[in-house]
Symmetry: C2
Subunit: 328 residues, 2 copies
DNA sequence: GTGAAAGCGCTAACAA
DNA sequence: TTGTTAGCGCTTTCAC
């Protein structure tokens, strides 16, 4: 770990450390010839300015954190991985370093991480938010809204997505539409669920025509629930699933019951994850641009870090239906 | 950003800054009563030691990086997300901060990241490795081996996994087994491909009985390739796919051709990703414990950081076949 | 355009 | 057990 320091470069190039510093932080402020001498010395010594010393002197770290708050969540969840991806791209292109962690892990290590901003994905607990704010850390929320906090948040257009899905099913001649719902992050769950009810109503479907079946988040539970829903004479001709995994459960159930898609049953998912095209027939799903959501997080964060005061509080990212063979 | 410093705590509690420092870094070295006074003052001021100043003084950062090297890769790849997950867990539990980046993004920002170690996932370029080593950064490889470098690396037991898959298919009465292969990381591609050929030979299959069809990594390409492979009189009764996505392609093709699994066709995948149980019938696949691979990365890294000299160079993580309906 | 010098907040000898 | 003090490597006034 015997890195060369600014002093070494100073000595070798014959200029002061201040000039070396300037050469690296704002080259335009040193004369061309000096600059070259400094660069030459630096590369000869294989010198790179120490990020730590820099942070120490400037009193800022250029460090951000992405914290996954969905409980039991992991990057394995394609949706959150997509958001993280977007955040990563944004952070890296702005020369910010990105710490990645889960809420659990984050709170296990009490020491101050010295970050300038945190992007909380999913169900962020008020305690975490408060703690971060108290440490003067800028906070942006994604796929969640936190009542009582005045923060920028990025969410998908649940309402619009659900509505497109229902309109599509109705246009295919279906009126009795069932929803297979699961318990996810509190925000998402209620938002999507309510969107289903309100859209159905708005589109003229009666309460008798719409039904909601609940299940857990896993495929097994979804399949069982779907079997219960479909294995009866008055089975609904169309199912809107909370997400693609649950939709896959519906498809498995349909297959076991000998139902053919899309003729005997139409199925729509949500998220438009990679599994949609792996399934046969391919699954119609509401596309959510999660990478874009991540990028937007970084845009808001940048504004916050720049001291802007009129940062949008709530940004809704458009969703759109991807029509595939499971419905037509 | 007006954080209280160690001086504030020192003043308020009436002890020297050294004592405050000790109280936080090694509480056992200060008298109980003093310790309490310090804690009281600290929490009154809402003080938290500055990670940066600490790094500056100790000349170490407790910072590690996870760098995704597969070209065009993202965390969306479930396999790498799993590894990352394992690394994250390990890092956090050791109080290390984890920077996450892709090789591309990493090299775009030339400034020294001041990390103590880097875990490179996938196809790490020699240039990157050399660069890191030159900066005295400890390097661990995962899902890759780098000829010419003497580094700890963690890989899955490709050979064993492939062999189990073939044995399973043979036990089901199949002898003509086709492989659908794709181009992935150089290491993985050749390893798995060679394992197929050598295992087949070892298990007594003739060259006529084994065939390899190549395709791209996407589902579309896999489906087309599989259609070509299956839509002919002498179609193989069993297909071993390079990974689960390609296996899904085989299943789609089979379905379109009216073939029934597992009777008309047996299909085995690789990775045992979450899609295996979403498909119908469920997909038999070689399970790879990617989280464990990530954890092992951290174990090797820890050893390296601790100055250990006899760190294992090559660790092979066991794989095992998960038998499901697509083959039986 | 360049240099001198005063920090930034903490750790780690060394002393007491 | 506690205090004093000299750095850690850089940025940033303020002079020149």
């Amino acid at each position: 770990m015997n890195h060369p320091t600014i002093y070494d470069v100073s000595r070798l190039s014959g200029v002061s450390i201040a000039t070396v510093s300037r050469t690296f932080s704002d080259p335009s402020r040193v004369r061309e010839s000096t600059r070259r001498r400094v660069y030459a010395a630096a590369s000869a010594l294989n010198y790179q300015p120490s990020e730590i010393a820099r942070a120490m002197a400037r009193q800022q770290t250029d460090k951000l954190a992405f914290i996954l708050c969905k409980k039991g969540a992991t990057l394995l969840d394609e949706f959150y991985a997509g958001i993280c991806e977007g955040v990563m791209r944004g952070a890296n292109s702005m020369e910010y370093q990105l710490l990645v962690s889960t809420a659990e892990d984050w709170q296990r290590t009490p020491r101050s991480k010295q970050i300038e901003g945190a992007i909380l994905a999913g169900d962020a607990q008020p305690g975490l938010i408060a703690e971060l704010q108290q440490q003067n850390v800028h906070v942006v929320l994604v796929n969640h809204i936190a009542p009582g906090f005045d923060l920028p948040c990025i969410v998908a257009d649940e309402q619009g997505g659900v509505q497109q899905a229902l309109e599509h099913l109705i246009s295919r001649g279906h009126r009795r539409i069932a929803m297979l719902a699961g318990r996810f992050s509190s925000y998402i769950t209620s938002e999507r669920y309510n969107a289903f009810l309100s859209s159905a109503k708005q589109l003229g479907l009666s309460l008798e025509e719409t039904s909601v079946t609940m299940c857990d988040r896993d495929i097994e539970s979804a399949t069982q629930a779907a079997l219960g829903l479909l294995d009866r004479p008055d089975r609904p001709p169309a199912v809107f699933a909370f997400n693609d995994v649950l939709a896959a459960g519906v498809m498995k159930a349909a297959r076991r019951l000998g139902l053919r898609l899309p003729d005997d049953l139409a199925v729509v998912g949500f998220d438009d994850s990679s599994i949609c095209t792996l399934l046969e027939p391919e699954l119609t799903s509401v596309h959510v641009d999660c990478r874009r959501m991540g990028e937007l997080c970084m845009e808001r964060m940048t504004a916050l870090l720049g001291g802007e005061t009129d940062v949008p509080r709530r940004t809704v990212v458009p969703t759109s239906l991807r029509t595939r063979a499971s419905t037509s």
